[in-house]
């Protein structure tokens, strides 16, 4: 830190104790007007919105209007953990969920992160935090749960990049000892979040083994861009109230029994199942490659001969082993891997020896295979700078893959890129582009940071690139870049990615194996049922403050034999665990059916919210042709027999057709299937043909608030209602 932090505004409050998972109040901070408030949480709010993302969306709904855009002062970043957040007994219970109007999609986005912020926020006395307004100059928001005060401080940092600011703030708000730093957590972004719409929210926890601040990310949707637009350099929370019963649960014994059973499963089975404890999510690298699902060269291909260079065994050797790598206490799945003692090779930190969080699978693929780079050292460096500069690694990698394909096809040249050769695999030039984005060095670097949807328009207008062609392979939906699975293999996954609330992110449904490999979803109705159940079931994690991974990245030994395959995919025993721990914390008595109902309430509310923001209809569920199938001959020819058979399966005889004709015929068939899928899914979800929740559905869910119904009534058309 270059200078002391000057106090700009301060507000004192009485920290509210946690009772059955809730503090029953939320915190409002406006950094522009310097207003503070504690808002009560009603019983109805808990019943209808549960917590976490549900609370976020409720508070955001009240804060914005239909004309609000991401950089309007009334837009908020709302952060909430949920009633189970902070539970130490059950793995994966430290997540927060952030919601905001996204700069990439102009509608609601929710993004989650590990780290200690949400549990400490709860201990500081709040179920949620609303950040509103815009400061005049860079500020730090400090939530002091020990003293019961909130401060807005002038930021002393010349360098707002994440690692710099986070380490300094752990030091500044602790007594400086290794042990005391773990009672502090910091949310930050970085320089690139100021210049790009891909800004991520970094959330920290102090690693007492490594003696460094670790960074987890609510990466997607541009939350970090909003944070910096508000001129918030960091949000800091501190509380020393850690204990073995943070949520003041009704029945701690149930938490202990379910948690200990899961610890045992992980102890006994993880090494044979997903190896999360040793390699984390990169255990997927070679599996995805084997099934043609590893995005390679902008999703053209799903396999690459250099896979051995990024095999999970390589990453196992790079990750330090034997450390309890949970991003919150009690997570024995321990997937928060890190590379230690890495010497930075480029950029402003060149020569520094650092600990790099991850890379996780998504980053291995995005800043790796998808841009044609099969060099883990490069991926680690790119991961470090993405976090440090505050950029989402997924959008960055998928966005770069789009740029590479534009370059490969000659739509952009060195003349446009500021001298960079951006063909696939050009590792040095791609790294240079990351550095240029961080400082907004030139118009090209700034254009890339706008995301694929805007890049298509800019490249067409500025460089004369053909817009229609870029539409085919620009891998975005609703304005957000696709995460790292090749979707063209599975009809159900088209829905898992593109019939979502916020765009192609992998947190709603991952159905490729169920649909394509195990063939458990033969009809459109089967697919629609899965696209109803899984998005809703998985939404529940976001309401209560849990991580999805301990649900099905570890399974009971008899999961596959004790249930029908379609049911085994739901991991019934773990679902029952969730029902049990929810009841044990809150004292309620929900069933597994009600669990899904809780999600449906918020899922449909969010859909209507997007409608209110001018989105949320059928036309907004766009899909690029590359997500449906091959677009160019090289893709088809790489798996000619496979795609010929795909053509036969839709009733077209490939013999005598040119490759271009085959591609066109398959696209035609799949576009028809895509519309059929939309119809089936909308119907199952209780939406009309235009993708709008019906008033009847809202009534069924008890979400027929007048202001919600009026949005639906404003947009629903009689011709879109189902006849039966």
């Amino acid at each position: 830190m270059s200078k002391e932090m000057k106090l700009i505004a301060e507000w004192t409050y009485k920290p509210s104790d946690v009772v059955r998972g809730y503090t029953n109040q939320t915190l409002f901070v406006n950094v522009g007007s310097r207003k503070f408030a504690a808002k009560p949480v009603s019983e109805e709010m808990k019943l209808k919105f549960t917590g976490g993302r549900g609370f976020d969306l409720k508070l955001l709904w009240d804060a914005v209007n239909e004309n609000t855009r991401w950089n309007d002062p009334e837009n908020e970043i709302v952060i909430s953990g949920g009633p189970l957040c902070g539970t130490t007994q059950y793995p994966g219970a430290g997540k927060f969920y952030a919601a905001f109007i996204s700069p990439l999609t102009d509608q609601t986005y929710d993004s989650n992160s590990g780290g200690h912020f949400a549990p400490l926020l709860k201990l500081a006395g709040f179920d949620a935090l609303e950040l509103q307004g815009k400061a005049e100059k860079d500020v730090i928001v400090f939530i002091d749960g020990d003293a019961g005060k909130i401060q807005i401080l002038e930021s002393p940092f010349d360098d707002v990049n994440a690692y710099t600011i986070t380490e300094a703030l752990h030091e500044a708000f602790s007594d400086g000892s290794n042990d005391d730093k773990r009672f502090v957590s910091v949310i930050s972004a970085g320089k690139a979040a100021e210049k790009s719409l891909w800004g991520c929210l970094n959330s920290s926890f102090w690693d007492i083994r490594r003696k460094v601040a670790r960074l987890k990310q609510a990466g997607r949707g541009g939350g970090g861009t909003i944070l910096r637009d508000k001129k918030i350099a960091a949000v800091v929370v501190r509380s020393h109230k850690l204990s073995g019963d943070i949520n003041k649960a009704v029945d701690v014994q149930v938490l202990q029994d379910r948690g200990n059973k899961l610890h045992r499963e992980i102890h006994d089975l993880d090494a044979q199942q997903c190896r999360m404890r040793t390699v984390g999510t990169p255990h997927l690298n070679e599996i995805m490659n084997e099934y043609h699902l590893l995005p390679t060269h902008n999703y053209k291909f799903g396999q690459h001969p250099d896979i051995d260079k990024i095999h999970s065994n390589v990453y196992e050797g790079l990750f330090t082993q034997g450390i309890p790598d949970g991003c919150w206490y009690g997570c024995s799945l321990a997937c928060a891997k890190a590379v230690d003692n890495y010497t930075i090779q480029t950029g402003p930190c060149k020569g520094k020896v650092v600990t790099v969080d991850g890379p996780e699978y998504e980053t291995v693929a995005s800043l790796g295979s998808n841009v044609g780079v099969f060099n883990p050292q490069w991926t680690i460096e790119a991961n470090f700078y993405a976090d440090h500069y505050g950029v989402d690694t997924i959008s960055l990698g998928t966005g770069f893959a789009f740029v590479c394909e534009c370059y490969e096809r000659g739509y952009i040249t060195k003349e446009h890129t500021g001298g960079l050769d951006l063909n696939f695999g050009r590792a040095d030039d791609l790294m240079e582009l990351i550095h240029r984005m961080a400082v907004g060095k030139d118009e090209f670097a700034l254009a890339v940071g706008q995301g694929i949807r805007k890049m298509k328009r800019i490249f067409a207008d500025r460089y004369g690139a053909p817009y229609e062609e870029m539409e085919k392979f620009g891998m975005e939906g609703q304005g957000i870049e696709v995460s790292e699975y090749v979707p063209k293999e599975s009809i159900a996954q088209w829905g898992g990615y593109f019939l979502t609330l916020k765009g192609p992110q992998h947190d709603e449904a991952w159905l490729i194996f169920m649909d394509r490999v195990n063939k458990q979803l033969p009809t459109f109705e089967d697919k629609a049922e899965a696209l109803h159940y899984f998005p809703n079931f998985r939404t529940w994690f976001s309401l209560v403050g849990l991580c999805k991974l301990p649900w099905n990245d570890i399974e009971p030994a008899d999961n596959a034999t004790a249930h029908r395959p379609q049911d085994a995919a739901k991991v019934p025993e773990h679902v029952q665990n969730y029902v049990d721990i929810f009841n044990a914390v809150t004292g309620r008595n929900i069933s597994k059916e009600e669990l899904v109902l809780m999600s449906e309430r918020v899922y449909n509310f969010q859909r209507v919210f997007n409608l209110r923001m001018g989105k949320g209809t059928r036309k907004d569920h766009n899909i690029p042709l590359r997500a449906l199938g091959p677009v160019y001959p090289d893709e088809w020819l790489a798996r000619e027999e496979y795609y010929d058979n795909e053509l036969k399966s839709v009733g077209v005889e490939p013999a005598g057709l040119s490759v271009e004709e085959k591609i066109a015929r398959l696209q035609e068939a799949r576009l028809t299937q895509w519309e059929q899928l939309k119809d089936a899914v909308y119907k199952r979800r209780g939406w009309d043909r235009n993708g709008i929740p019906t008033v009847r559905k809202l009534k069924e869910l008890g979400m027929d608030f007048p202001e919600v119904v009026s949005v639906v009534e404003k947009h629903a058309r009689p011709e879109d209602q189902w006849k039966d």
Binding site: R209, R210, L242, S243, V252, L255, Q256, N260, H267, I323
Partner: protein, 150 residues
């Protein structure tokens, strides 16, 4: 640069002469008669309540006149599992828990190689284990328990 991250590495604990000190409760289930005196002594001493669920040593009946005894052997696996550094060895090599630091996550319980770490929420959220105090050894009528120092 090599950094050691583990708070404890098993072979690093030495006494002043360079020898490894490890004091632990050794069990001889073949001698056990299933009287339960050890559990009564343990729970009454440490929790002031005669309750087998609160004992840090566990006697279970496997069959007729066939009993099993289970107590921590101070292997230290739990030390490296603890996310808050609440577990450490004392001067006798005994693994001790700082209850003020413990957050009750039970990873030490779930990953104990011998299932010798126990919990009982009705009394407290923090788990508990044998600390080789030796009181049960003195009370055992058949010498099925002994304190060993290696």
């Amino acid at each position: 640069m090599v950094r050691i991250y583990a708070l404890y590495t098993p072979c690093m604990f030495h006494d002043q002469q360079g020898g490894i000190i490890l004091k632990w409760l050794k069990v001889h289930p073949d001698k056990c008669v299933g009287c339960g005196t050890c559990m009564e002594t343990c729970s009454s001493t440490w929790f002031k309540e005669n309750n087998p669920a609160l004992s840090r040593i566990r006697m279970t009946e496997k069959g007729e006149d066939d009993y099993d005894l289970n107590a921590c052997n101070q292997c230290g696996t739990c030390i490296d599992m603890c996310p808050v550094g609440a577990l450490s060895r004392d001067g006798n090599g005994i693994v001790r828990m700082n209850e003020k630091k413990c957050v009750g996550c039970l990873m030490c319980v779930g990953f104990c190689p011998t299932n010798s770490f126990f919990y009982h929420a009705a009394r407290r959220p923090e788990p508990f284990k044998c600390i080789a105090c030796g009181l049960c050894v003195k009370k055992c009528p058949v010498e099925a328990l002994e304190i060993v120092t290696e």
